[in-house]
Amino acid sequence: MNETAPVESQGFYTEDMTISVGPQHPSTHGVLRFVVKTDGEVISEAIPDVGYLHRSIEKIGEKVTWHGYVPYTDRADYLAAMFANQVFCMAAEKLAGTEVTRRGEFCRAIACELNRIASHLISVGTFGQDIGAMTPFVHALRERETINNLMEEICGARLTYNYIRIGGVGYDILPETCTRISEFLDHFEPIVDEFNRLLSNNKIFIERLAGVAVVSKEDALSYNLVGPNLRGCGIKWDIRRDIPYSVYPELEFEVPVGTGRVGTLGDSYDRYWVRICELQESCKILRQCLKMLPKGPAIAKVARKFKPPVGECYARVEAPRGDMGFYVVSDGSEYPYRVRIRTGSFTAMSIIDKLSKGIMVADLIALIGSLDVDAPEIDR
């Protein structure tokens, strides 16, 4: 028998295997499931199966009052609860024509940027862990712990804040807390460089990610990728800069985009790198906010029985996982007629089916991590 003949001609053939990844899989950060069809190590199809964490937050919105819905929005994305608070309040304020106090806006920006750092730390930390680097994860969580403590000082909660209310914020930020935040920033900025030494410039890490799961600009638009995933493809789009809201027009910050730093434009590494750069930008924003923090009330006077006029409104903010939108409809009563939450993870998840064709099983883990999908945000 000729030993170099292809395997098939010798009567052997390979068969596609269907395996279930998840719902309880360490790399899925929550309850996600993929039905993966593989031929050996190469994936021919990975079908996402979501819905394990569906808590019908949108339906609950029709049963509780406008003020009463704010704590529920926390649960949409538990890693970045502040943004869901803010975007719901923004939608309600836009409907009712409520003005937010200036100090309230700055308090919101400070809380949100702290939250963004915390969320990105989780994202890049767990990403490293999925790829096989355990130490950066511990470093990232250590820093996040400090932010959680600061958050506890600001609003009394560590994860689900319920801090931003219609008209402003629940509690004013105290001067001592401001000092502690700026102390944290002094400590944190060098940590980002340390993180780069540990992970971003690590040869093994780069080799695992460069050129893996490349997203083209056309796909990014067609699949409506948002946030760092969109910017990773080289599209400079940040809602804070392009559809200005809150105090962001007054602040100076860069919008980092992917450049194909180590591989191809739009690969997994670019998406990761944008998040690292955003950590530094958030620090910059925080320093400016602390400096500019004006005096005055933190919350405007808002009726306890909040009844916005009949109408509808769509508000969006730049959350850590991109464009988070709330579409609210009011029929003039105390309860919202409909609340719709549009999240970045949901659309990011829908592209996985396409990107996973032809990649290795280990790269699927890198792909999920680099898109930074968050199960509760997908299912809501």
Binding site: S222, N224, W237, D242, E312, G325, V329, Y337, S350, I351
Partner: protein
């Protein structure tokens, strides 16, 4: 470009297929006839002046009194920084509309969600399955008249009376 101008352009391009325009509300929107939704969206995406590259959101509203379900499309143009809202009225009994999968790929998942929670059928959709709820779930929860089944797979869905008193 103002939403009003976009609407006028649409009306010129598709006479009789776009309904009324509501500009006085906080969020201006155009009504579109159900059969024209694909061509209108393709025009909005491809027109060199409009360039609505992304479908930001696709959802539905249930209006039992008017006997209709409204499918709501939020389109956004990164180039022009403009937004347009399209609304399509469908009968509540048998809501059917063409899929936008061919225009924006993300519509696939958005439409699955609307199908799951509102029961709107998207004709031509490649994979119209429930997305949030299990395959054997009965009913479409975001409809206003949805009543939860008493149990699912032998597990009770009812709460203790104490909690019920606190609800509306």
């Amino acid at each position: 470009m103002e939403v009003k101008e976009i609407y006028q352009l649409l009306e010129k391009q598709f006479p009789g297929k776009v309904g009324d325009f509501k500009g006085e509300v906080s969020e201006p929107y155009c009504s579109v006839n159900p059969e024209a939704i694909v061509e209108v969206s393709r025009f909005l995406r491809d027109d060199s002046k409009l360039k609505f590259e992304v479908l930001s959101d696709l959802t539905a509203l249930d209006w039992p009194k008017e006997e209709k379900i409204q499918v709501v499309y939020h389109l956004y143009s990164y180039s022009n920084k403009s937004q347009i809202v399209l609304k399509v009225d469908l009968p509540r009994e048998n809501p059917k509309i063409s899929t936008l999968e061919g225009v924006w790929k993300v519509a696939n998942w958005f439409e699955r969600e609307v199908f799951d929670l509102f029961g709107v059928i998207f004709t031509g959709h490649s994979d119209l399955r429930r997305i949030m709820l299990p395959e054997d779930w009965v009913g479409h929860p975001l409809r206003k008249d949805y009543v939860e089944e008493e149990e699912y797979d032998g597990i009770s869905t009812q709460r203790a009376p104490l909690v019920e008193k606190l609800l509306r």
